[in-house]
């Protein structure tokens, strides 16, 4: 019982990180119908940005909420900038070309960021600074609630709250939903589609930036290829929940995180990476549109 609750907490905190990554995939897919392969590498860049900022300003000497927020800010800014640059220089020139070309470009961008990072930062893993002390907040005989897990969970909830506000309560959110519904009609109705796409990339990439700092806190080792596996899992979570659907992405990510935690705890840790693949195949066979996705019929 004690173990179960502990695994539940760990799984939720892992799932909330996946949720932050999955949201970026699902938002970009919503407006552009594009699997943004570079998303996982934008996330990696965010981790390095916060790493270097923390080192320059010596954040490690004063761990706490303020330095954490500053690291988050650095990472989010860097991710947003890279996201905009990728959209502007790689995806925009290809708007309207066949889907397969855009997909190949996305892979090119992803590889470019990966190998660029290996060249600039070096291929060796780096130790992420401790930005917040890991102390037990609540310690009963049932559970140990550590400050790290609570931080991860609270920051994710905050980010999701801000996202919800942005998407459902602001004009930008309304236009983004319009674009994702039908890009042509939206542009006929006077929505600046390019602006909306850029903003979507900013928001999605910033969320990945938040995720990267949280992963850095949880698993303090960052390297240029750290985005590959987590990106794949984030994408699977997005597909699982119904790609293009933001609530679905969060639910899918939570299921991912929980099932991964339980598989590692009760079955075998070698199955950890195979699980994501199994979930993907399963959902593609039984409900291809995802948990919350709508079954769309194509009209000619």
């Amino acid at each position: 019982m004690q173990d179960l609750i502990q695994h539940l907490i760990n799984g939720l905190s892992l799932g909330s990180i996946y949720a932050l990554i999955a949201l970026g995939y699902t938002m970009v897919y919503g407006v552009l119908q594009l699997i943004n392969f570079a998303h996982s590498d934008i996330y990696m860049m965010g981790a390095f940005a916060s790493y270097y900022v923390s080192r320059w300003f010596n954040f490690e000497a004063h761990p706490g909420i303020v330095t954490l927020c500053m690291a988050l800010l650095a990472s989010m800014t860097a991710c947003a900038l890279i996201g905009v640059a990728v959209e502007r220089f790689a995806y925009r020139p290809l708007r309207g070309s066949p889907k397969i070309n855009i997909l190949i470009t996305a892979i090119g961008v992803s590889l470019f960021l990966q190998f660029g990072a290996q060249l600039i930062f070096g291929p060796n893993p780096k130790a992420f600074p401790t930005l917040i002390e890991d102390v037990a907040l609540i310690e009963t005989e049932f559970i140990v609630l550590k400050s790290l897990e609570v931080t991860v969970f609270v920051i994710t909830l905050l980010a999701l709250g801000v996202l919800h506000f942005l998407v459902y309560k602001t004009k930008f959110g309304k236009s983004m939903r319009a674009v994702s519904h039908n890009i042509n009609t939206a542009s006929v109705l006077g929505i600046n589609v390019n602006k909306v796409i850029v903003l979507t990339f900013i928001v999605g990439s910033a969320l990945a930036g938040v995720g990267s700092v949280l992963v850095g806190l949880k698993y303090p080792k960052i390297e240029p290829l750290m985005g590959v596996m987590i990106g794949l899992k984030g994408f699977v979570a997005a597909v699982f929940g119904g790609i293009g659907n933001m609530t679905g992405a969060v639910i899918g990510a939570m299921i991912m995180g929980l099932s991964e935690e339980f598989v590692v705890a009760y079955l075998s840790s070698t199955l950890r990476d195979a699980l994501a693949f199994g979930l993907l195949i399963g959902i593609l066979i039984w409900k291809p549109s995802g948990l919350l996705g709508k079954n769309t019929v194509e009209k000619v």
Binding site: L103, V109, L119
Partner: protein
């Protein structure tokens, strides 16, 4: 018999060429040529999926891994078999490797190809990753060490190992080229292109698009398996890491650079992509950095932006040759 005239002449021509290469070139260039032929097989078969059927597979190296491990494991399991049967043993192993890879292609392709959209890309990407993890953990297949000391192609009288390898690989090369060439110009093969052009229209004409997509994927996986089997005997060692995402991307680059829908383009691009890193080694010694992958990925983006059809587009080499001839007259 008429149908086999051109391939037969091409093969005899290649055999004689191989003889010239055996005496004319050093071993370094010889092995590069063999690798070019091997990657051509992989690239041409991927072109059937990516170029002709309009699907997007990112795990071709995974199917090569299946083929390579099958061939390697078989030659470990049956020691002496290859020595007694000579080239036929290799042929049988390659066919088994191809069939095994195409079985995997069926299993991976069926759930993802039922759907429209880019699911195949992500599923094949995942397949490559999972296969690597699985291979790392299977002890009979060597785990992380892989299988080494795989029987290489034999010598044959005064013909050395290179010539036999060359003859064997170019046999499969021609089989792959002519099989794919003929199939894409047949009634059956036009179905592939109809799916690429417009899936809804193809459906409304009564074609089973899922079946078409899966069969194209299975054929491609077969040749990928054969290429993998060739790899195993050519390099003599297989490890889980070589058949990673990067090799898949390399093959995709060959297809894209050569032109999606052009087999001869794939061959030329395979040669280019295989030779380029070797040439860039000298650049590396000047700058001191390994810029090869940066150039690669940047090249991929730039091709897509400025020349999205690749070198040849969907035309084949004879088209350009005849155009050239016309100009001269």
């Amino acid at each position: 018999m008429k149908n086999f005239k051109i391939p037969l002449f091409a093969y005899i021509g290649l055999l004689i060429l191989g003889l010239a290469l055996q005496f004319g070139l050093n071993a370094y260039i010889q092995i590069l040529i063999l690798q070019i032929l091997m990657f051509s097989i992989a690239a041409m078969s991927l072109n059937l999926v990516n170029g002709f059927t309009g699907q997007f597979s990112l795990g071709h190296a995974g199917f090569m891994a299946v083929g390579a491990y099958t061939s390697a494991y078989l030659s470990q399991l049956l020691p002496g078999f290859l020595e007694t049967t000579h080239v036929f043993g290799f042929f049988i192993f390659s066919v088994i490797a191809g069939l095994f890879a195409s079985f995997f292609g069926y299993v991976v392709g069926l759930p993802s190809l039922r759907l429209k959209g880019d699911y195949l890309a992500i599923v094949t990407l995942g397949f490559g990753e999972i296969l690597r993890v699985v291979l790392l953990n299977i002890e009979p297949l060597g785990g992380a060490r892989g299988i080494s000391g795989i029987v290489p192609y034999p010598e044959f009288g005064f013909l050395d190992r290179f010539w036999v390898s060359f003859a064997y690989i170019s046999f499969w090369f021609l089989v792959c080229l002519f099989f794919l060439w003929r199939i894409t110009r047949s009634r059956y093969g036009r179905q592939f292109m109809s799916v690429r052009e417009d899936e809804v229209a193809a459906l409304s004409l009564g074609l089973s698009t899922t079946k078409i997509k899966v069969s194209s994927f299975v054929i491609a996986s077969f040749f990928a398996g054969v290429a993998g089997s060739i790899y195993a005997h050519l390099i003599s060692i297989v490890t889980p890491t070589v058949f990673g995402f990067l090799m898949s991307v390399n093959i995709v680059v060959m297809v894209v650079l050569g032109g999606m829908g052009s087999f001869t383009g794939s061959i030329i691009a395979a040669a280019f992509v295989t030779v380029m890193p070797e040439l860039l080694r000298s650049v590396q010694s000047v700058t001191g950095y390994d810029l090869r992958m940066i150039i690669f990925s940047l090249g991929l983006i730039l091709i897509m932006i400025f020349k999205p059809n690749g070198l040849f587009g969907d035309k084949e080499l004879p088209y350009f040759l005849s155009k050239l001839k016309r100009k001269k007259v």
